[in-house]
C-alpha cells in the first residue's frame, strides 16, 4: 500500500507546494519515505542532475570524482553544485551540467561510483527529490515547497519487497532516459523475468524495486517506436501483478491500472489542470470545494494521458 499523486498546472506555478500537500494527505499509506518528481522551466541545453551521496564526510571527493567522469564524457559543471544541509549521513546534491557527448554512456560511466554517489534524475527540467520520512519532513529538508514548475509526481512509500533506504524511495528515474519519472502503487509479480530481459538489452537497475523496472519498461517500448498510449496499453496486457502507476515526461503524465482493479486512482480535472492521487481526501487538499467533481478510476485495465500545456512562464 503506497500513495501516489500527480499534478499538472496550466502555467508554471507552485507545483512543489501542491505535491507536498497531496502527499501529506496520504502519509498513512507509506511512512517509510516520500519523494517528488518536479518539472521546472525547461533548459534549452544542459541537464539538471539530482544525485544522492551516501557519506556526507566524502562529499567533496564524491563530487570531484563525479566531475572527472563528466569531463571525460565531454561535459562539465555549469554552476557549482548545491546540497542539503541536513544531519543525515546521506546527502542530496543538485548539479547543472553541460551536455555530455552521449547521455547513455555518461550515465553508465557515472554509475561506476553509484555506491558513493547515485544519480537519481537527469533532465532538461526534471528533478527528483526523495528521502526517508513524511511529506513535510522531506519538503522542509529539501525545499520542495519552493519548487516552481508545471507538473510533477509524488509518492509515499510503504516498503514491501525491497529495502527501506533513501535511494530506494520513489519516484524513479527511467535510467538512462532524461526527463522520465515514475510513481507506482502495487506489486509486479513477474519482476525478475522482465528485469532479466531488460538487462539483456543493456539496461541497468540500481535497486530491486519493481517501480524502477516499469519506468524503463515503458520508456523502452517508446524507444522502439510505440506511443505512450500504446506502451501503457501493452503494460496492462504484458506486466503481471497489481498496479496503478503514473509516468511523467516533459509534455505529459500517463497512467495505467492493472487487469484486476486492485489499486485506486482518483482524479480532478479542472479547467485543464489535473490533481490525481490514490485517495480522494488527498485531491481535496488542493480542491476543497465539493462542487469540483471527481473522477474515480476504479475499474480494471484503465489508462490515460494528460497533456501539459504552457511550460514556460510568459515572456
Amino acid at each position: 500500500m503506497c500513495g501516489i499523486a500527480g499534478r499538472i498546472l496550466n502555467a508554471p506555478g507552485a507545483v512543489g507546494r501542491d505535491l507536498v500537500e497531496l502527499m501529506d494527505a496520504q502519509a498513512h499509506r507509506g511512512a517509510d519515505s516520500t519523494g517528488f518528481a518536479i518539472y521546472g522551466e525547461p533548459r534549452d541545453s544542459g541537464y539538471i542532475v539530482r544525485a544522492m551521496g551516501f557519506d556526507r564526510n566524502n562529499l567533496s571527493k564524491d563530487l570531484e570524482d563525479f566531475r572527472a567522469i563528466l569531463k571525460d564524457q565531454g561535459g562539465d559543471f555549469i554552476d557549482e553544485p548545491t546540497w542539503d544541509n541536513g544531519s543525515s549521513a546521506h546527502y542530496s546534491v543538485r548539479m547543472t551540467v553541460t551536455d555530455p557527448k552521449d547521455v547513455e554512456r555518461w550515465t553508465e560511466a557515472a554509475d561506476k561510483i553509484c555506491e558513493r554517489l547515485e544519480m537519481q534524475s537527469v533532465g532538461r527540467s526534471l528533478e527528483i527529490i526523495k528521502d526517508t520520512g513524511g511529506a513535510y519532513e522531506v519538503a522542509d529538508k529539501h525545499g520542495v515547497r519552493d519548487m516552481i514548475g508545471t507538473h510533477g509526481l509524488g509518492h509515499a512509500r510503504l516498503a514491501t519487497e525491497s529495502d527501506v533506504r533513501p535511494n530506494a524511495s520513489h519516484p524513479f528515474w527511467a535510467r538512462p532516459f532524461p526527463d522520465v519519472a515514475i510513481v507506482h502503487n502495487g506489486q509486479i509479480t513477474d519482476y525478475y523475468s522482465w528485469r532479466n530481459r531488460l538487462e539483456h538489452k543493456g539496461y541497468r537497475f540500481l535497486t530491486y524495486n519493481d517501480s524502477e523496472l516499469i519506468a524503463v519498461w515503458v520508456s523502452d517500448r517508446m524507444k522502439e517506436g510505440l506511443s505512450m498510449e500504446q506502451a501503457l496499453s501493452r503494460s496492462i496486457d504484458e506486466i503481471d501483478g497489481v498496479f496503478t502507476f503514473m509516468i511523467s515526461r516533459p509534455d505529459k503524465i500517463g497512467f495505467a491500472k492493472d487487469r484486476f482493479a486492485m489499486k485506486p486512482l482518483v482524479v480532478i480535472n479542472e479547467n485543464g489542470e489535473i490533481a490525481a492521487a490514490t485517495e480522494e481526501q488527498s485531491v481535496r487538499r488542493v480542491y476543497e470545494d465539493e462542487g469540483v467533481s471527481i473522477i474515480n478510476y476504479d475499474g480494471p485495465s484503465l489508462q490515460g494521458i494528460w497533456g501539459v500545456g504552457n511550460r514556460r512562464a510568459a515572456a
Binding site: 482493479a261 485506486p264 485517495e279 480522494e280 481526501q281 481535496r284 465539493e290 476504479d298 475499474g299 480494471p300
Partner: protein, 239 residues
C-alpha cells in the same frame, strides 16, 4: 408505499470534521447519538473511517463526500452520505441502512451480514464482495466483478453491470436490469419466478424504486466451482 429512512431535521447536532482527528469526531457523534439527537456531519473532506461501528438508533447525515470504510461495522444506524463514498463503505455491517447520494467506491458492502445499502449513482468494482446477507441496491451500474464470492444476500443493479459480473458466486444473488458487460466464472443467468421478483420489489418499494415493468436477470452460481470437498482431481481443472 412506506418511506425511506431519512435523517436530519432542525434539531440536528452539527459536527464538523475538517482536519480534526476522526477519533474525536466519532466521540462527538456517539455522544450526540446517546443524547437522542439526529446528527449532521459537515466539511467531511473525504476523510476515512467516518461513522464506523455506529449503534442502532443513531441517525447521521454526512454532508459532502466521505473516504474509506464509512458506515463499516454498522449495527443498526441509519446513515446518509450526501455525495460519494470511498472504498469499503458499509463493510461488514450487520444491520441498519446506508444511503449514498453519489458514487460508491470499490467493495461497497464487502462482507456485510445484514441491513441495506442504497447507492443512487454507480458503484465501483467488487460491490458486495464476500457478502453474507443484506441487500445492496445500486440505481446505476455495478462495477467490475461485483458480487465476487458473495455467500448470501442480494445485489440489485438497476443500471446494468460491468465485466466479470458475479464471478465465483456462492449463495448470493445478483439481480440486474440493463446491460451486463460480461459474466464472471460460474455465473449463470436465470429467469426469476414471480415470487422471487416480488421479494426484490419488496426491497425496492421502501426506497421508492419499485417498478413492475422491469426485465430482470437473476444471476446465481452455476455451482461448477463447488468442488472444494471433491477428491476427483478432474474437478480442480474446470476453470
Amino acid at each position: 408505499m412506506s418511506v425511506q429512512p431519512k435523517v436530519g431535521n432542525t434539531k440536528d447536532v452539527v459536527i464538523e470534521v475538517g482536519k480534526r482527528p476522526v477519533r474525536e469526531v466519532h466521540q462527538d457523534i456517539l455522544a450526540a447519538a446517546n443524547a437522542g439527537k439526529s446528527i449532521v456531519v459537515t466539511n467531511t473532506l473525504s476523510r476515512h473511517n467516518l461513522g464506523v461501528g455506529l449503534p442502532p438508533g443513531c441517525k447521521v447525515r454526512f454532508e459532502g463526500s466521505v473516504g474509506y470504510y464509512c458506515g463499516g461495522l454498522n449495527t443498526g444506524a441509519v446513515i446518509e452520505i450526501e455525495r460519494n463514498a470511498g472504498w469499503g463503505c458499509g463493510e461488514a455491517m450487520s444491520d441498519g441502512h446506508i444511503t449514498i447520494g453519489g458514487y460508491a467506491g470499490m467493495s461497497v458492502g464487502a462482507a456485510m451480514l445484514g441491513g441495506t445499502i442504497h447507492v443512487k449513482g454507480d458503484s465501483g468494482p467488487r460491490a458486495g464482495v464476500a457478502m453474507k446477507g443484506g441487500n445492496i441496491v445500486v440505481e446505476g451500474k455495478i462495477g467490475y466483478q461485483s458480487g465476487f464470492m458473495a455467500h448470501g444476500g442480494k445485489i440489485i443493479a438497476l443500471g446494468g453491470a460491468g465485466t466479470s459480473c458475479a464471478d465465483a458466486l456462492w449463495e448470493g444473488e445478483v439481480w440486474v436490469t440493463g446491460d451486463i458487460d460480461d459474466l464472471g466464472v460460474d455465473a449463470v443467468v436465470t429467469e426469476p419466478t414471480a415470487e422471487q421478483v416480488a421479494e426484490v420489489d419488496a426491497i425496492l418499494d421502501p426506497l421508492g424504486l419499485k417498478d413492475t415493468s422491469r426485465d430482470w436477470r437473476r444471476i446465481v452460481a452455476g455451482q461448477r466451482l463447488w468442488y472444494f470437498e471433491s477428491r476427483d482431481a478432474r474437478a480442480w481443472l474446470m476453470i
